[in-house]
Amino acid sequence: MSGTLLYIEDDPQIAGPVARDLRDRGYAVRWLQTGERAVEEADGCHLAILDVMLPGLDGFTVGQRLKKCFPGVPILMLSARTSIDDKLQGLEFADDYLTKPFHPDELAARIGVLLRRSGSVSAAPLSLKHLTVYEEENRIALTESGEEIPLTGKQFQIFFYLLRHLGQIMTKEQIYEAVWGEPYMEGDKTLMVHIRYLREKLEKDPAAPEIIETVRGIGYRIKA
């Protein structure tokens, strides 16, 4: 995945290797050591990565300003402040909160999820086993034949909800409440039935699904 990232981190010993790694992964990185010019530099960026403890304006203030000016740009807080209060304060405007010391792979994975969820980066068609998913066109096709697979409204919503959280396991409650917009009642088989029909359309062998994985006792996920 590509895109332009605004990265605000005052410590060059951290920012150096992180920015280098992100560039290695195909992103353009605009690194700032303070938040003073964050709003100007954020123009044209697809995601902002913010440290909290910055000289001058702190990360919370900078994040709030960015969210106000660019509400569509996801913000990832990257902080050594780990208290619940800090996380809650950060998540009032930020889309994700990652604590230091983080693993660069985890950072890259979270950036990928946020960019996919926001839809701000023109993603290349996603290849899932025998399927090709055109996210921007909301279209799924068989890779070999190019034949498009039509989905019903609910099937489409379930599939793309799982796709927005690619690799993450989503519980039955989370999926049901996101798609149907009402609380999930234990024992309700509606979701299971829809998943079965969805598999019949997407999977080569619905009895041994490869696209939508069932995680027993928890929920479902689309494995990256």
Binding site: D11, Q13, I14, G16, P17, V18, R20, D21, M53, S79, A80, R81, T82, S83, I84, D85, D86, L88, T99, K100, P101, F102, H103, P104, G167, Q168, I169, M170, T171, K172, E173, Q174, E186, V215, R216, G217, I218, G219
Partner: protein
């Protein structure tokens, strides 16, 4: 050491106290009762005197009424005269009675001889004011003994010419307490003398009022005083009650900051002092709450800064290790890098746990428990940990079906409990290759069970020596009204979480 301030324990002064005010009411009441008796008697006597002395001829009337001013003396005189007339002739008796008639001009008199014949009937020579209108003004006397006739104009209707025994008895009986006052005496002042009797009738209007019995006005006055005392007492206590209720209301109502609001300053008595003490207490509480908040903020800031200062160098090391990992390295080099990376991650968790433990142990963390479906939280938490478990090659067994399991927990901190327990499994029991999360019925109570097949905690008590992560678990669960046990043996460990009050 107890610090006294301007209000605490201060005496309002006896003069301003409620005690002195109530004592004043009592004293006035007590003093007033002995005063009211003579006072009312004086008033009554004065009014009686006024009654006697009212009119244009006050002095003359007063003089004329004087012989009647003492009823006892009047009766005594009449009996004495009767005694002196013992054995006297009819003429002598008649003359003496006439003389008495002249002296007691407002009184009528008659004499009945031993044979029951009325021998003399003397009407009053003068009429009192109240009788004047009803009287014809007859002043003449009749000496039945001398003239042989009886003039019944004034008293004739009540005095028969001849008395039977029954008439005499009825007269005697009626004369007691009658109006006019009737004084009867046997001639010789003895009934067995057989010389008849003589009677004198004095209208009550010329007699003094009977002061022996308490008049209605006096009762009324006393009742009024008692009612006034009761009303003043009631008002006094109603005032106290109203102020105490106001104070009670102020004490029970919470203001914006969860503390009672101060109340307006009242009178400088005991309740006023109590109100002032209450206001002082509220002010001190507010001050204390403010200091507490400031300390809490300072502590949190210090911990946040410390966390930052510890984590920043770890982040630097980890980032650079990752870069080093991209360079060509020997297998031993890569293994060392992985080990360092894992330890850095562990160190990050340890710092987090230390700081959280500090906050929790100091009681600075405020939990917000609410009714939560714990199974849902368990599923979401397991979903987050699932990739970690599978990456470590562990078998994952989730059994969280069934009706929602609703407990009063703080969602964020309950997730923290689960994170610590799962972290423990990954750090200490991944060798067992198994993690299980289930909701089971144990002794009639639905219990959350987290199992692993590690080598066991090696300690009987879950909190003791089980690491700071489990100490946090212990504190958090306890504060959420939950209990937990860890059954550990070389085959593995089962951590059970259940409500404290399961009996």
């Amino acid at each position: 050491m107890i610090r006294r301030n301007g209000t605490r324990g201060r005496n309002p002064g006896f003069r301003r106290s409620l005690l002195s005010r109530y004592l004043l009411i009592i004293v006035i009441a007590v003093l007033f009762l002995p005063v009211i008796f003579p006072l009312s008697l004086i008033i009554y006597t004065l009014s009686d005197h006024y009654h006697w002395t009212s009119g244009n001829t006050a002095d003359e009337t007063k003089k004329a009424f004087k012989p009647y001013s003492n009823i006892a003396e009047l009766e005594k005189m009449w009996h004495k005269e009767a005694r002196l007339l013992a054995g006297k002739s009819d003429r002598e008796i008649g003359a003496r009675l006439k003389a008495l008639g002249d002296r007691y001009q407002y009184a009528s008199m008659f004499w009945v001889n031993g044979e029951g014949m009325t021998r003399l009937a003397l009407p009053p020579e003068k009429k009192s004011g109240s009788e004047a209108g009803a009287d014809n003004g007859a002043t003449g006397g009749t000496d039945n003994g001398a003239t042989g006739r009886t003039d019944g104009t004034d008293i004739g209707a009540a005095v028969p010419a001849r008395w039977t025994a029954l008439q005499a008895i009825a007269f005697m009986k009626d004369s007691v307490g009658s109006d006019p006052l009737t004084v009867v005496a046997f001639i010789g002042d003895r009934a067995d003398a057989g010389e008849g009797f003589m009677a004198m009738r004095v209208p009550k209007s010329v007699l003094p009022r009977n002061t022996g019995s308490v008049p209605l006005a006096l009762y009324g006055l006393m009742l009024l005083v008692l009612l006034a005392f009761a009303a003043i007492s009631w008002l006094f206590f109603a005032g106290i009650r109203g102020r105490l209720l106001r104070l009670q209301t102020a004490m029970t109502l919470d203001g914006r900051d969860g503390l009672p609001a101060a109340i307006p300053k009242g009178k400088p008595d005991e309740i006023g002092m109590l109100e002032e003490a209450f206001n002082t207490m509220v002010a001190e509480l507010k001050d204390s709450r403010r200091r507490e908040r400031e300390e809490e903020e300072l502590r949190k800031r210090l911990i946040a800064d410390l966390s930052h200062d510890l984590r920043t160098p770890l982040t630097v090391v980890r980032s650079h290790l990752f870069q080093v990992g991209k360079e060509p390295l020997s297998p031993q080099g890569k293994e060392s890098l992985n080990l360092m990376d894992e330890r850095i991650a562990d160190l990050g968790v340890l710092i987090d746990n230390l700081l959280n433990y500090n906050l929790l142990a100091s009681g600075r963390v405020k939990l917000s428990p609410g009714r939560q479906d714990v199974l849902r939280l368990l599923r979401e938490s397991a979903a987050a940990w699932y990739p970690v478990w599978t990456k470590e090659g562990m078998e994952v067994d989730i059994e969280l079906e069934g009706e929602p399991l609703v407990w009063e927990v703080d969602e964020i901190w309950f997730r923290r409990v689960l994170d610590n327990l799962y972290q423990n499994v990954v750090r200490h029991a991944k060798g067992g290759g198994y993690v299980g999360v289930a909701a089971e019925d144990r002794g009639g109570v639905r219990t959350v069970v987290i199992r692993d097949r590690g080598k066991g905690l090696g300690e009987a008590s879950p909190a003791k020596g089980a690491g700071i992560g489990l100490a946090i678990v212990d504190m958090l669960l306890s504060r959420m009204g939950l209990a937990w046990t860890a059954d550990s043996d070389p085959e593995g460990t089962s951590v059970c979480i259940y409500p404290k009050d399961r009996g």
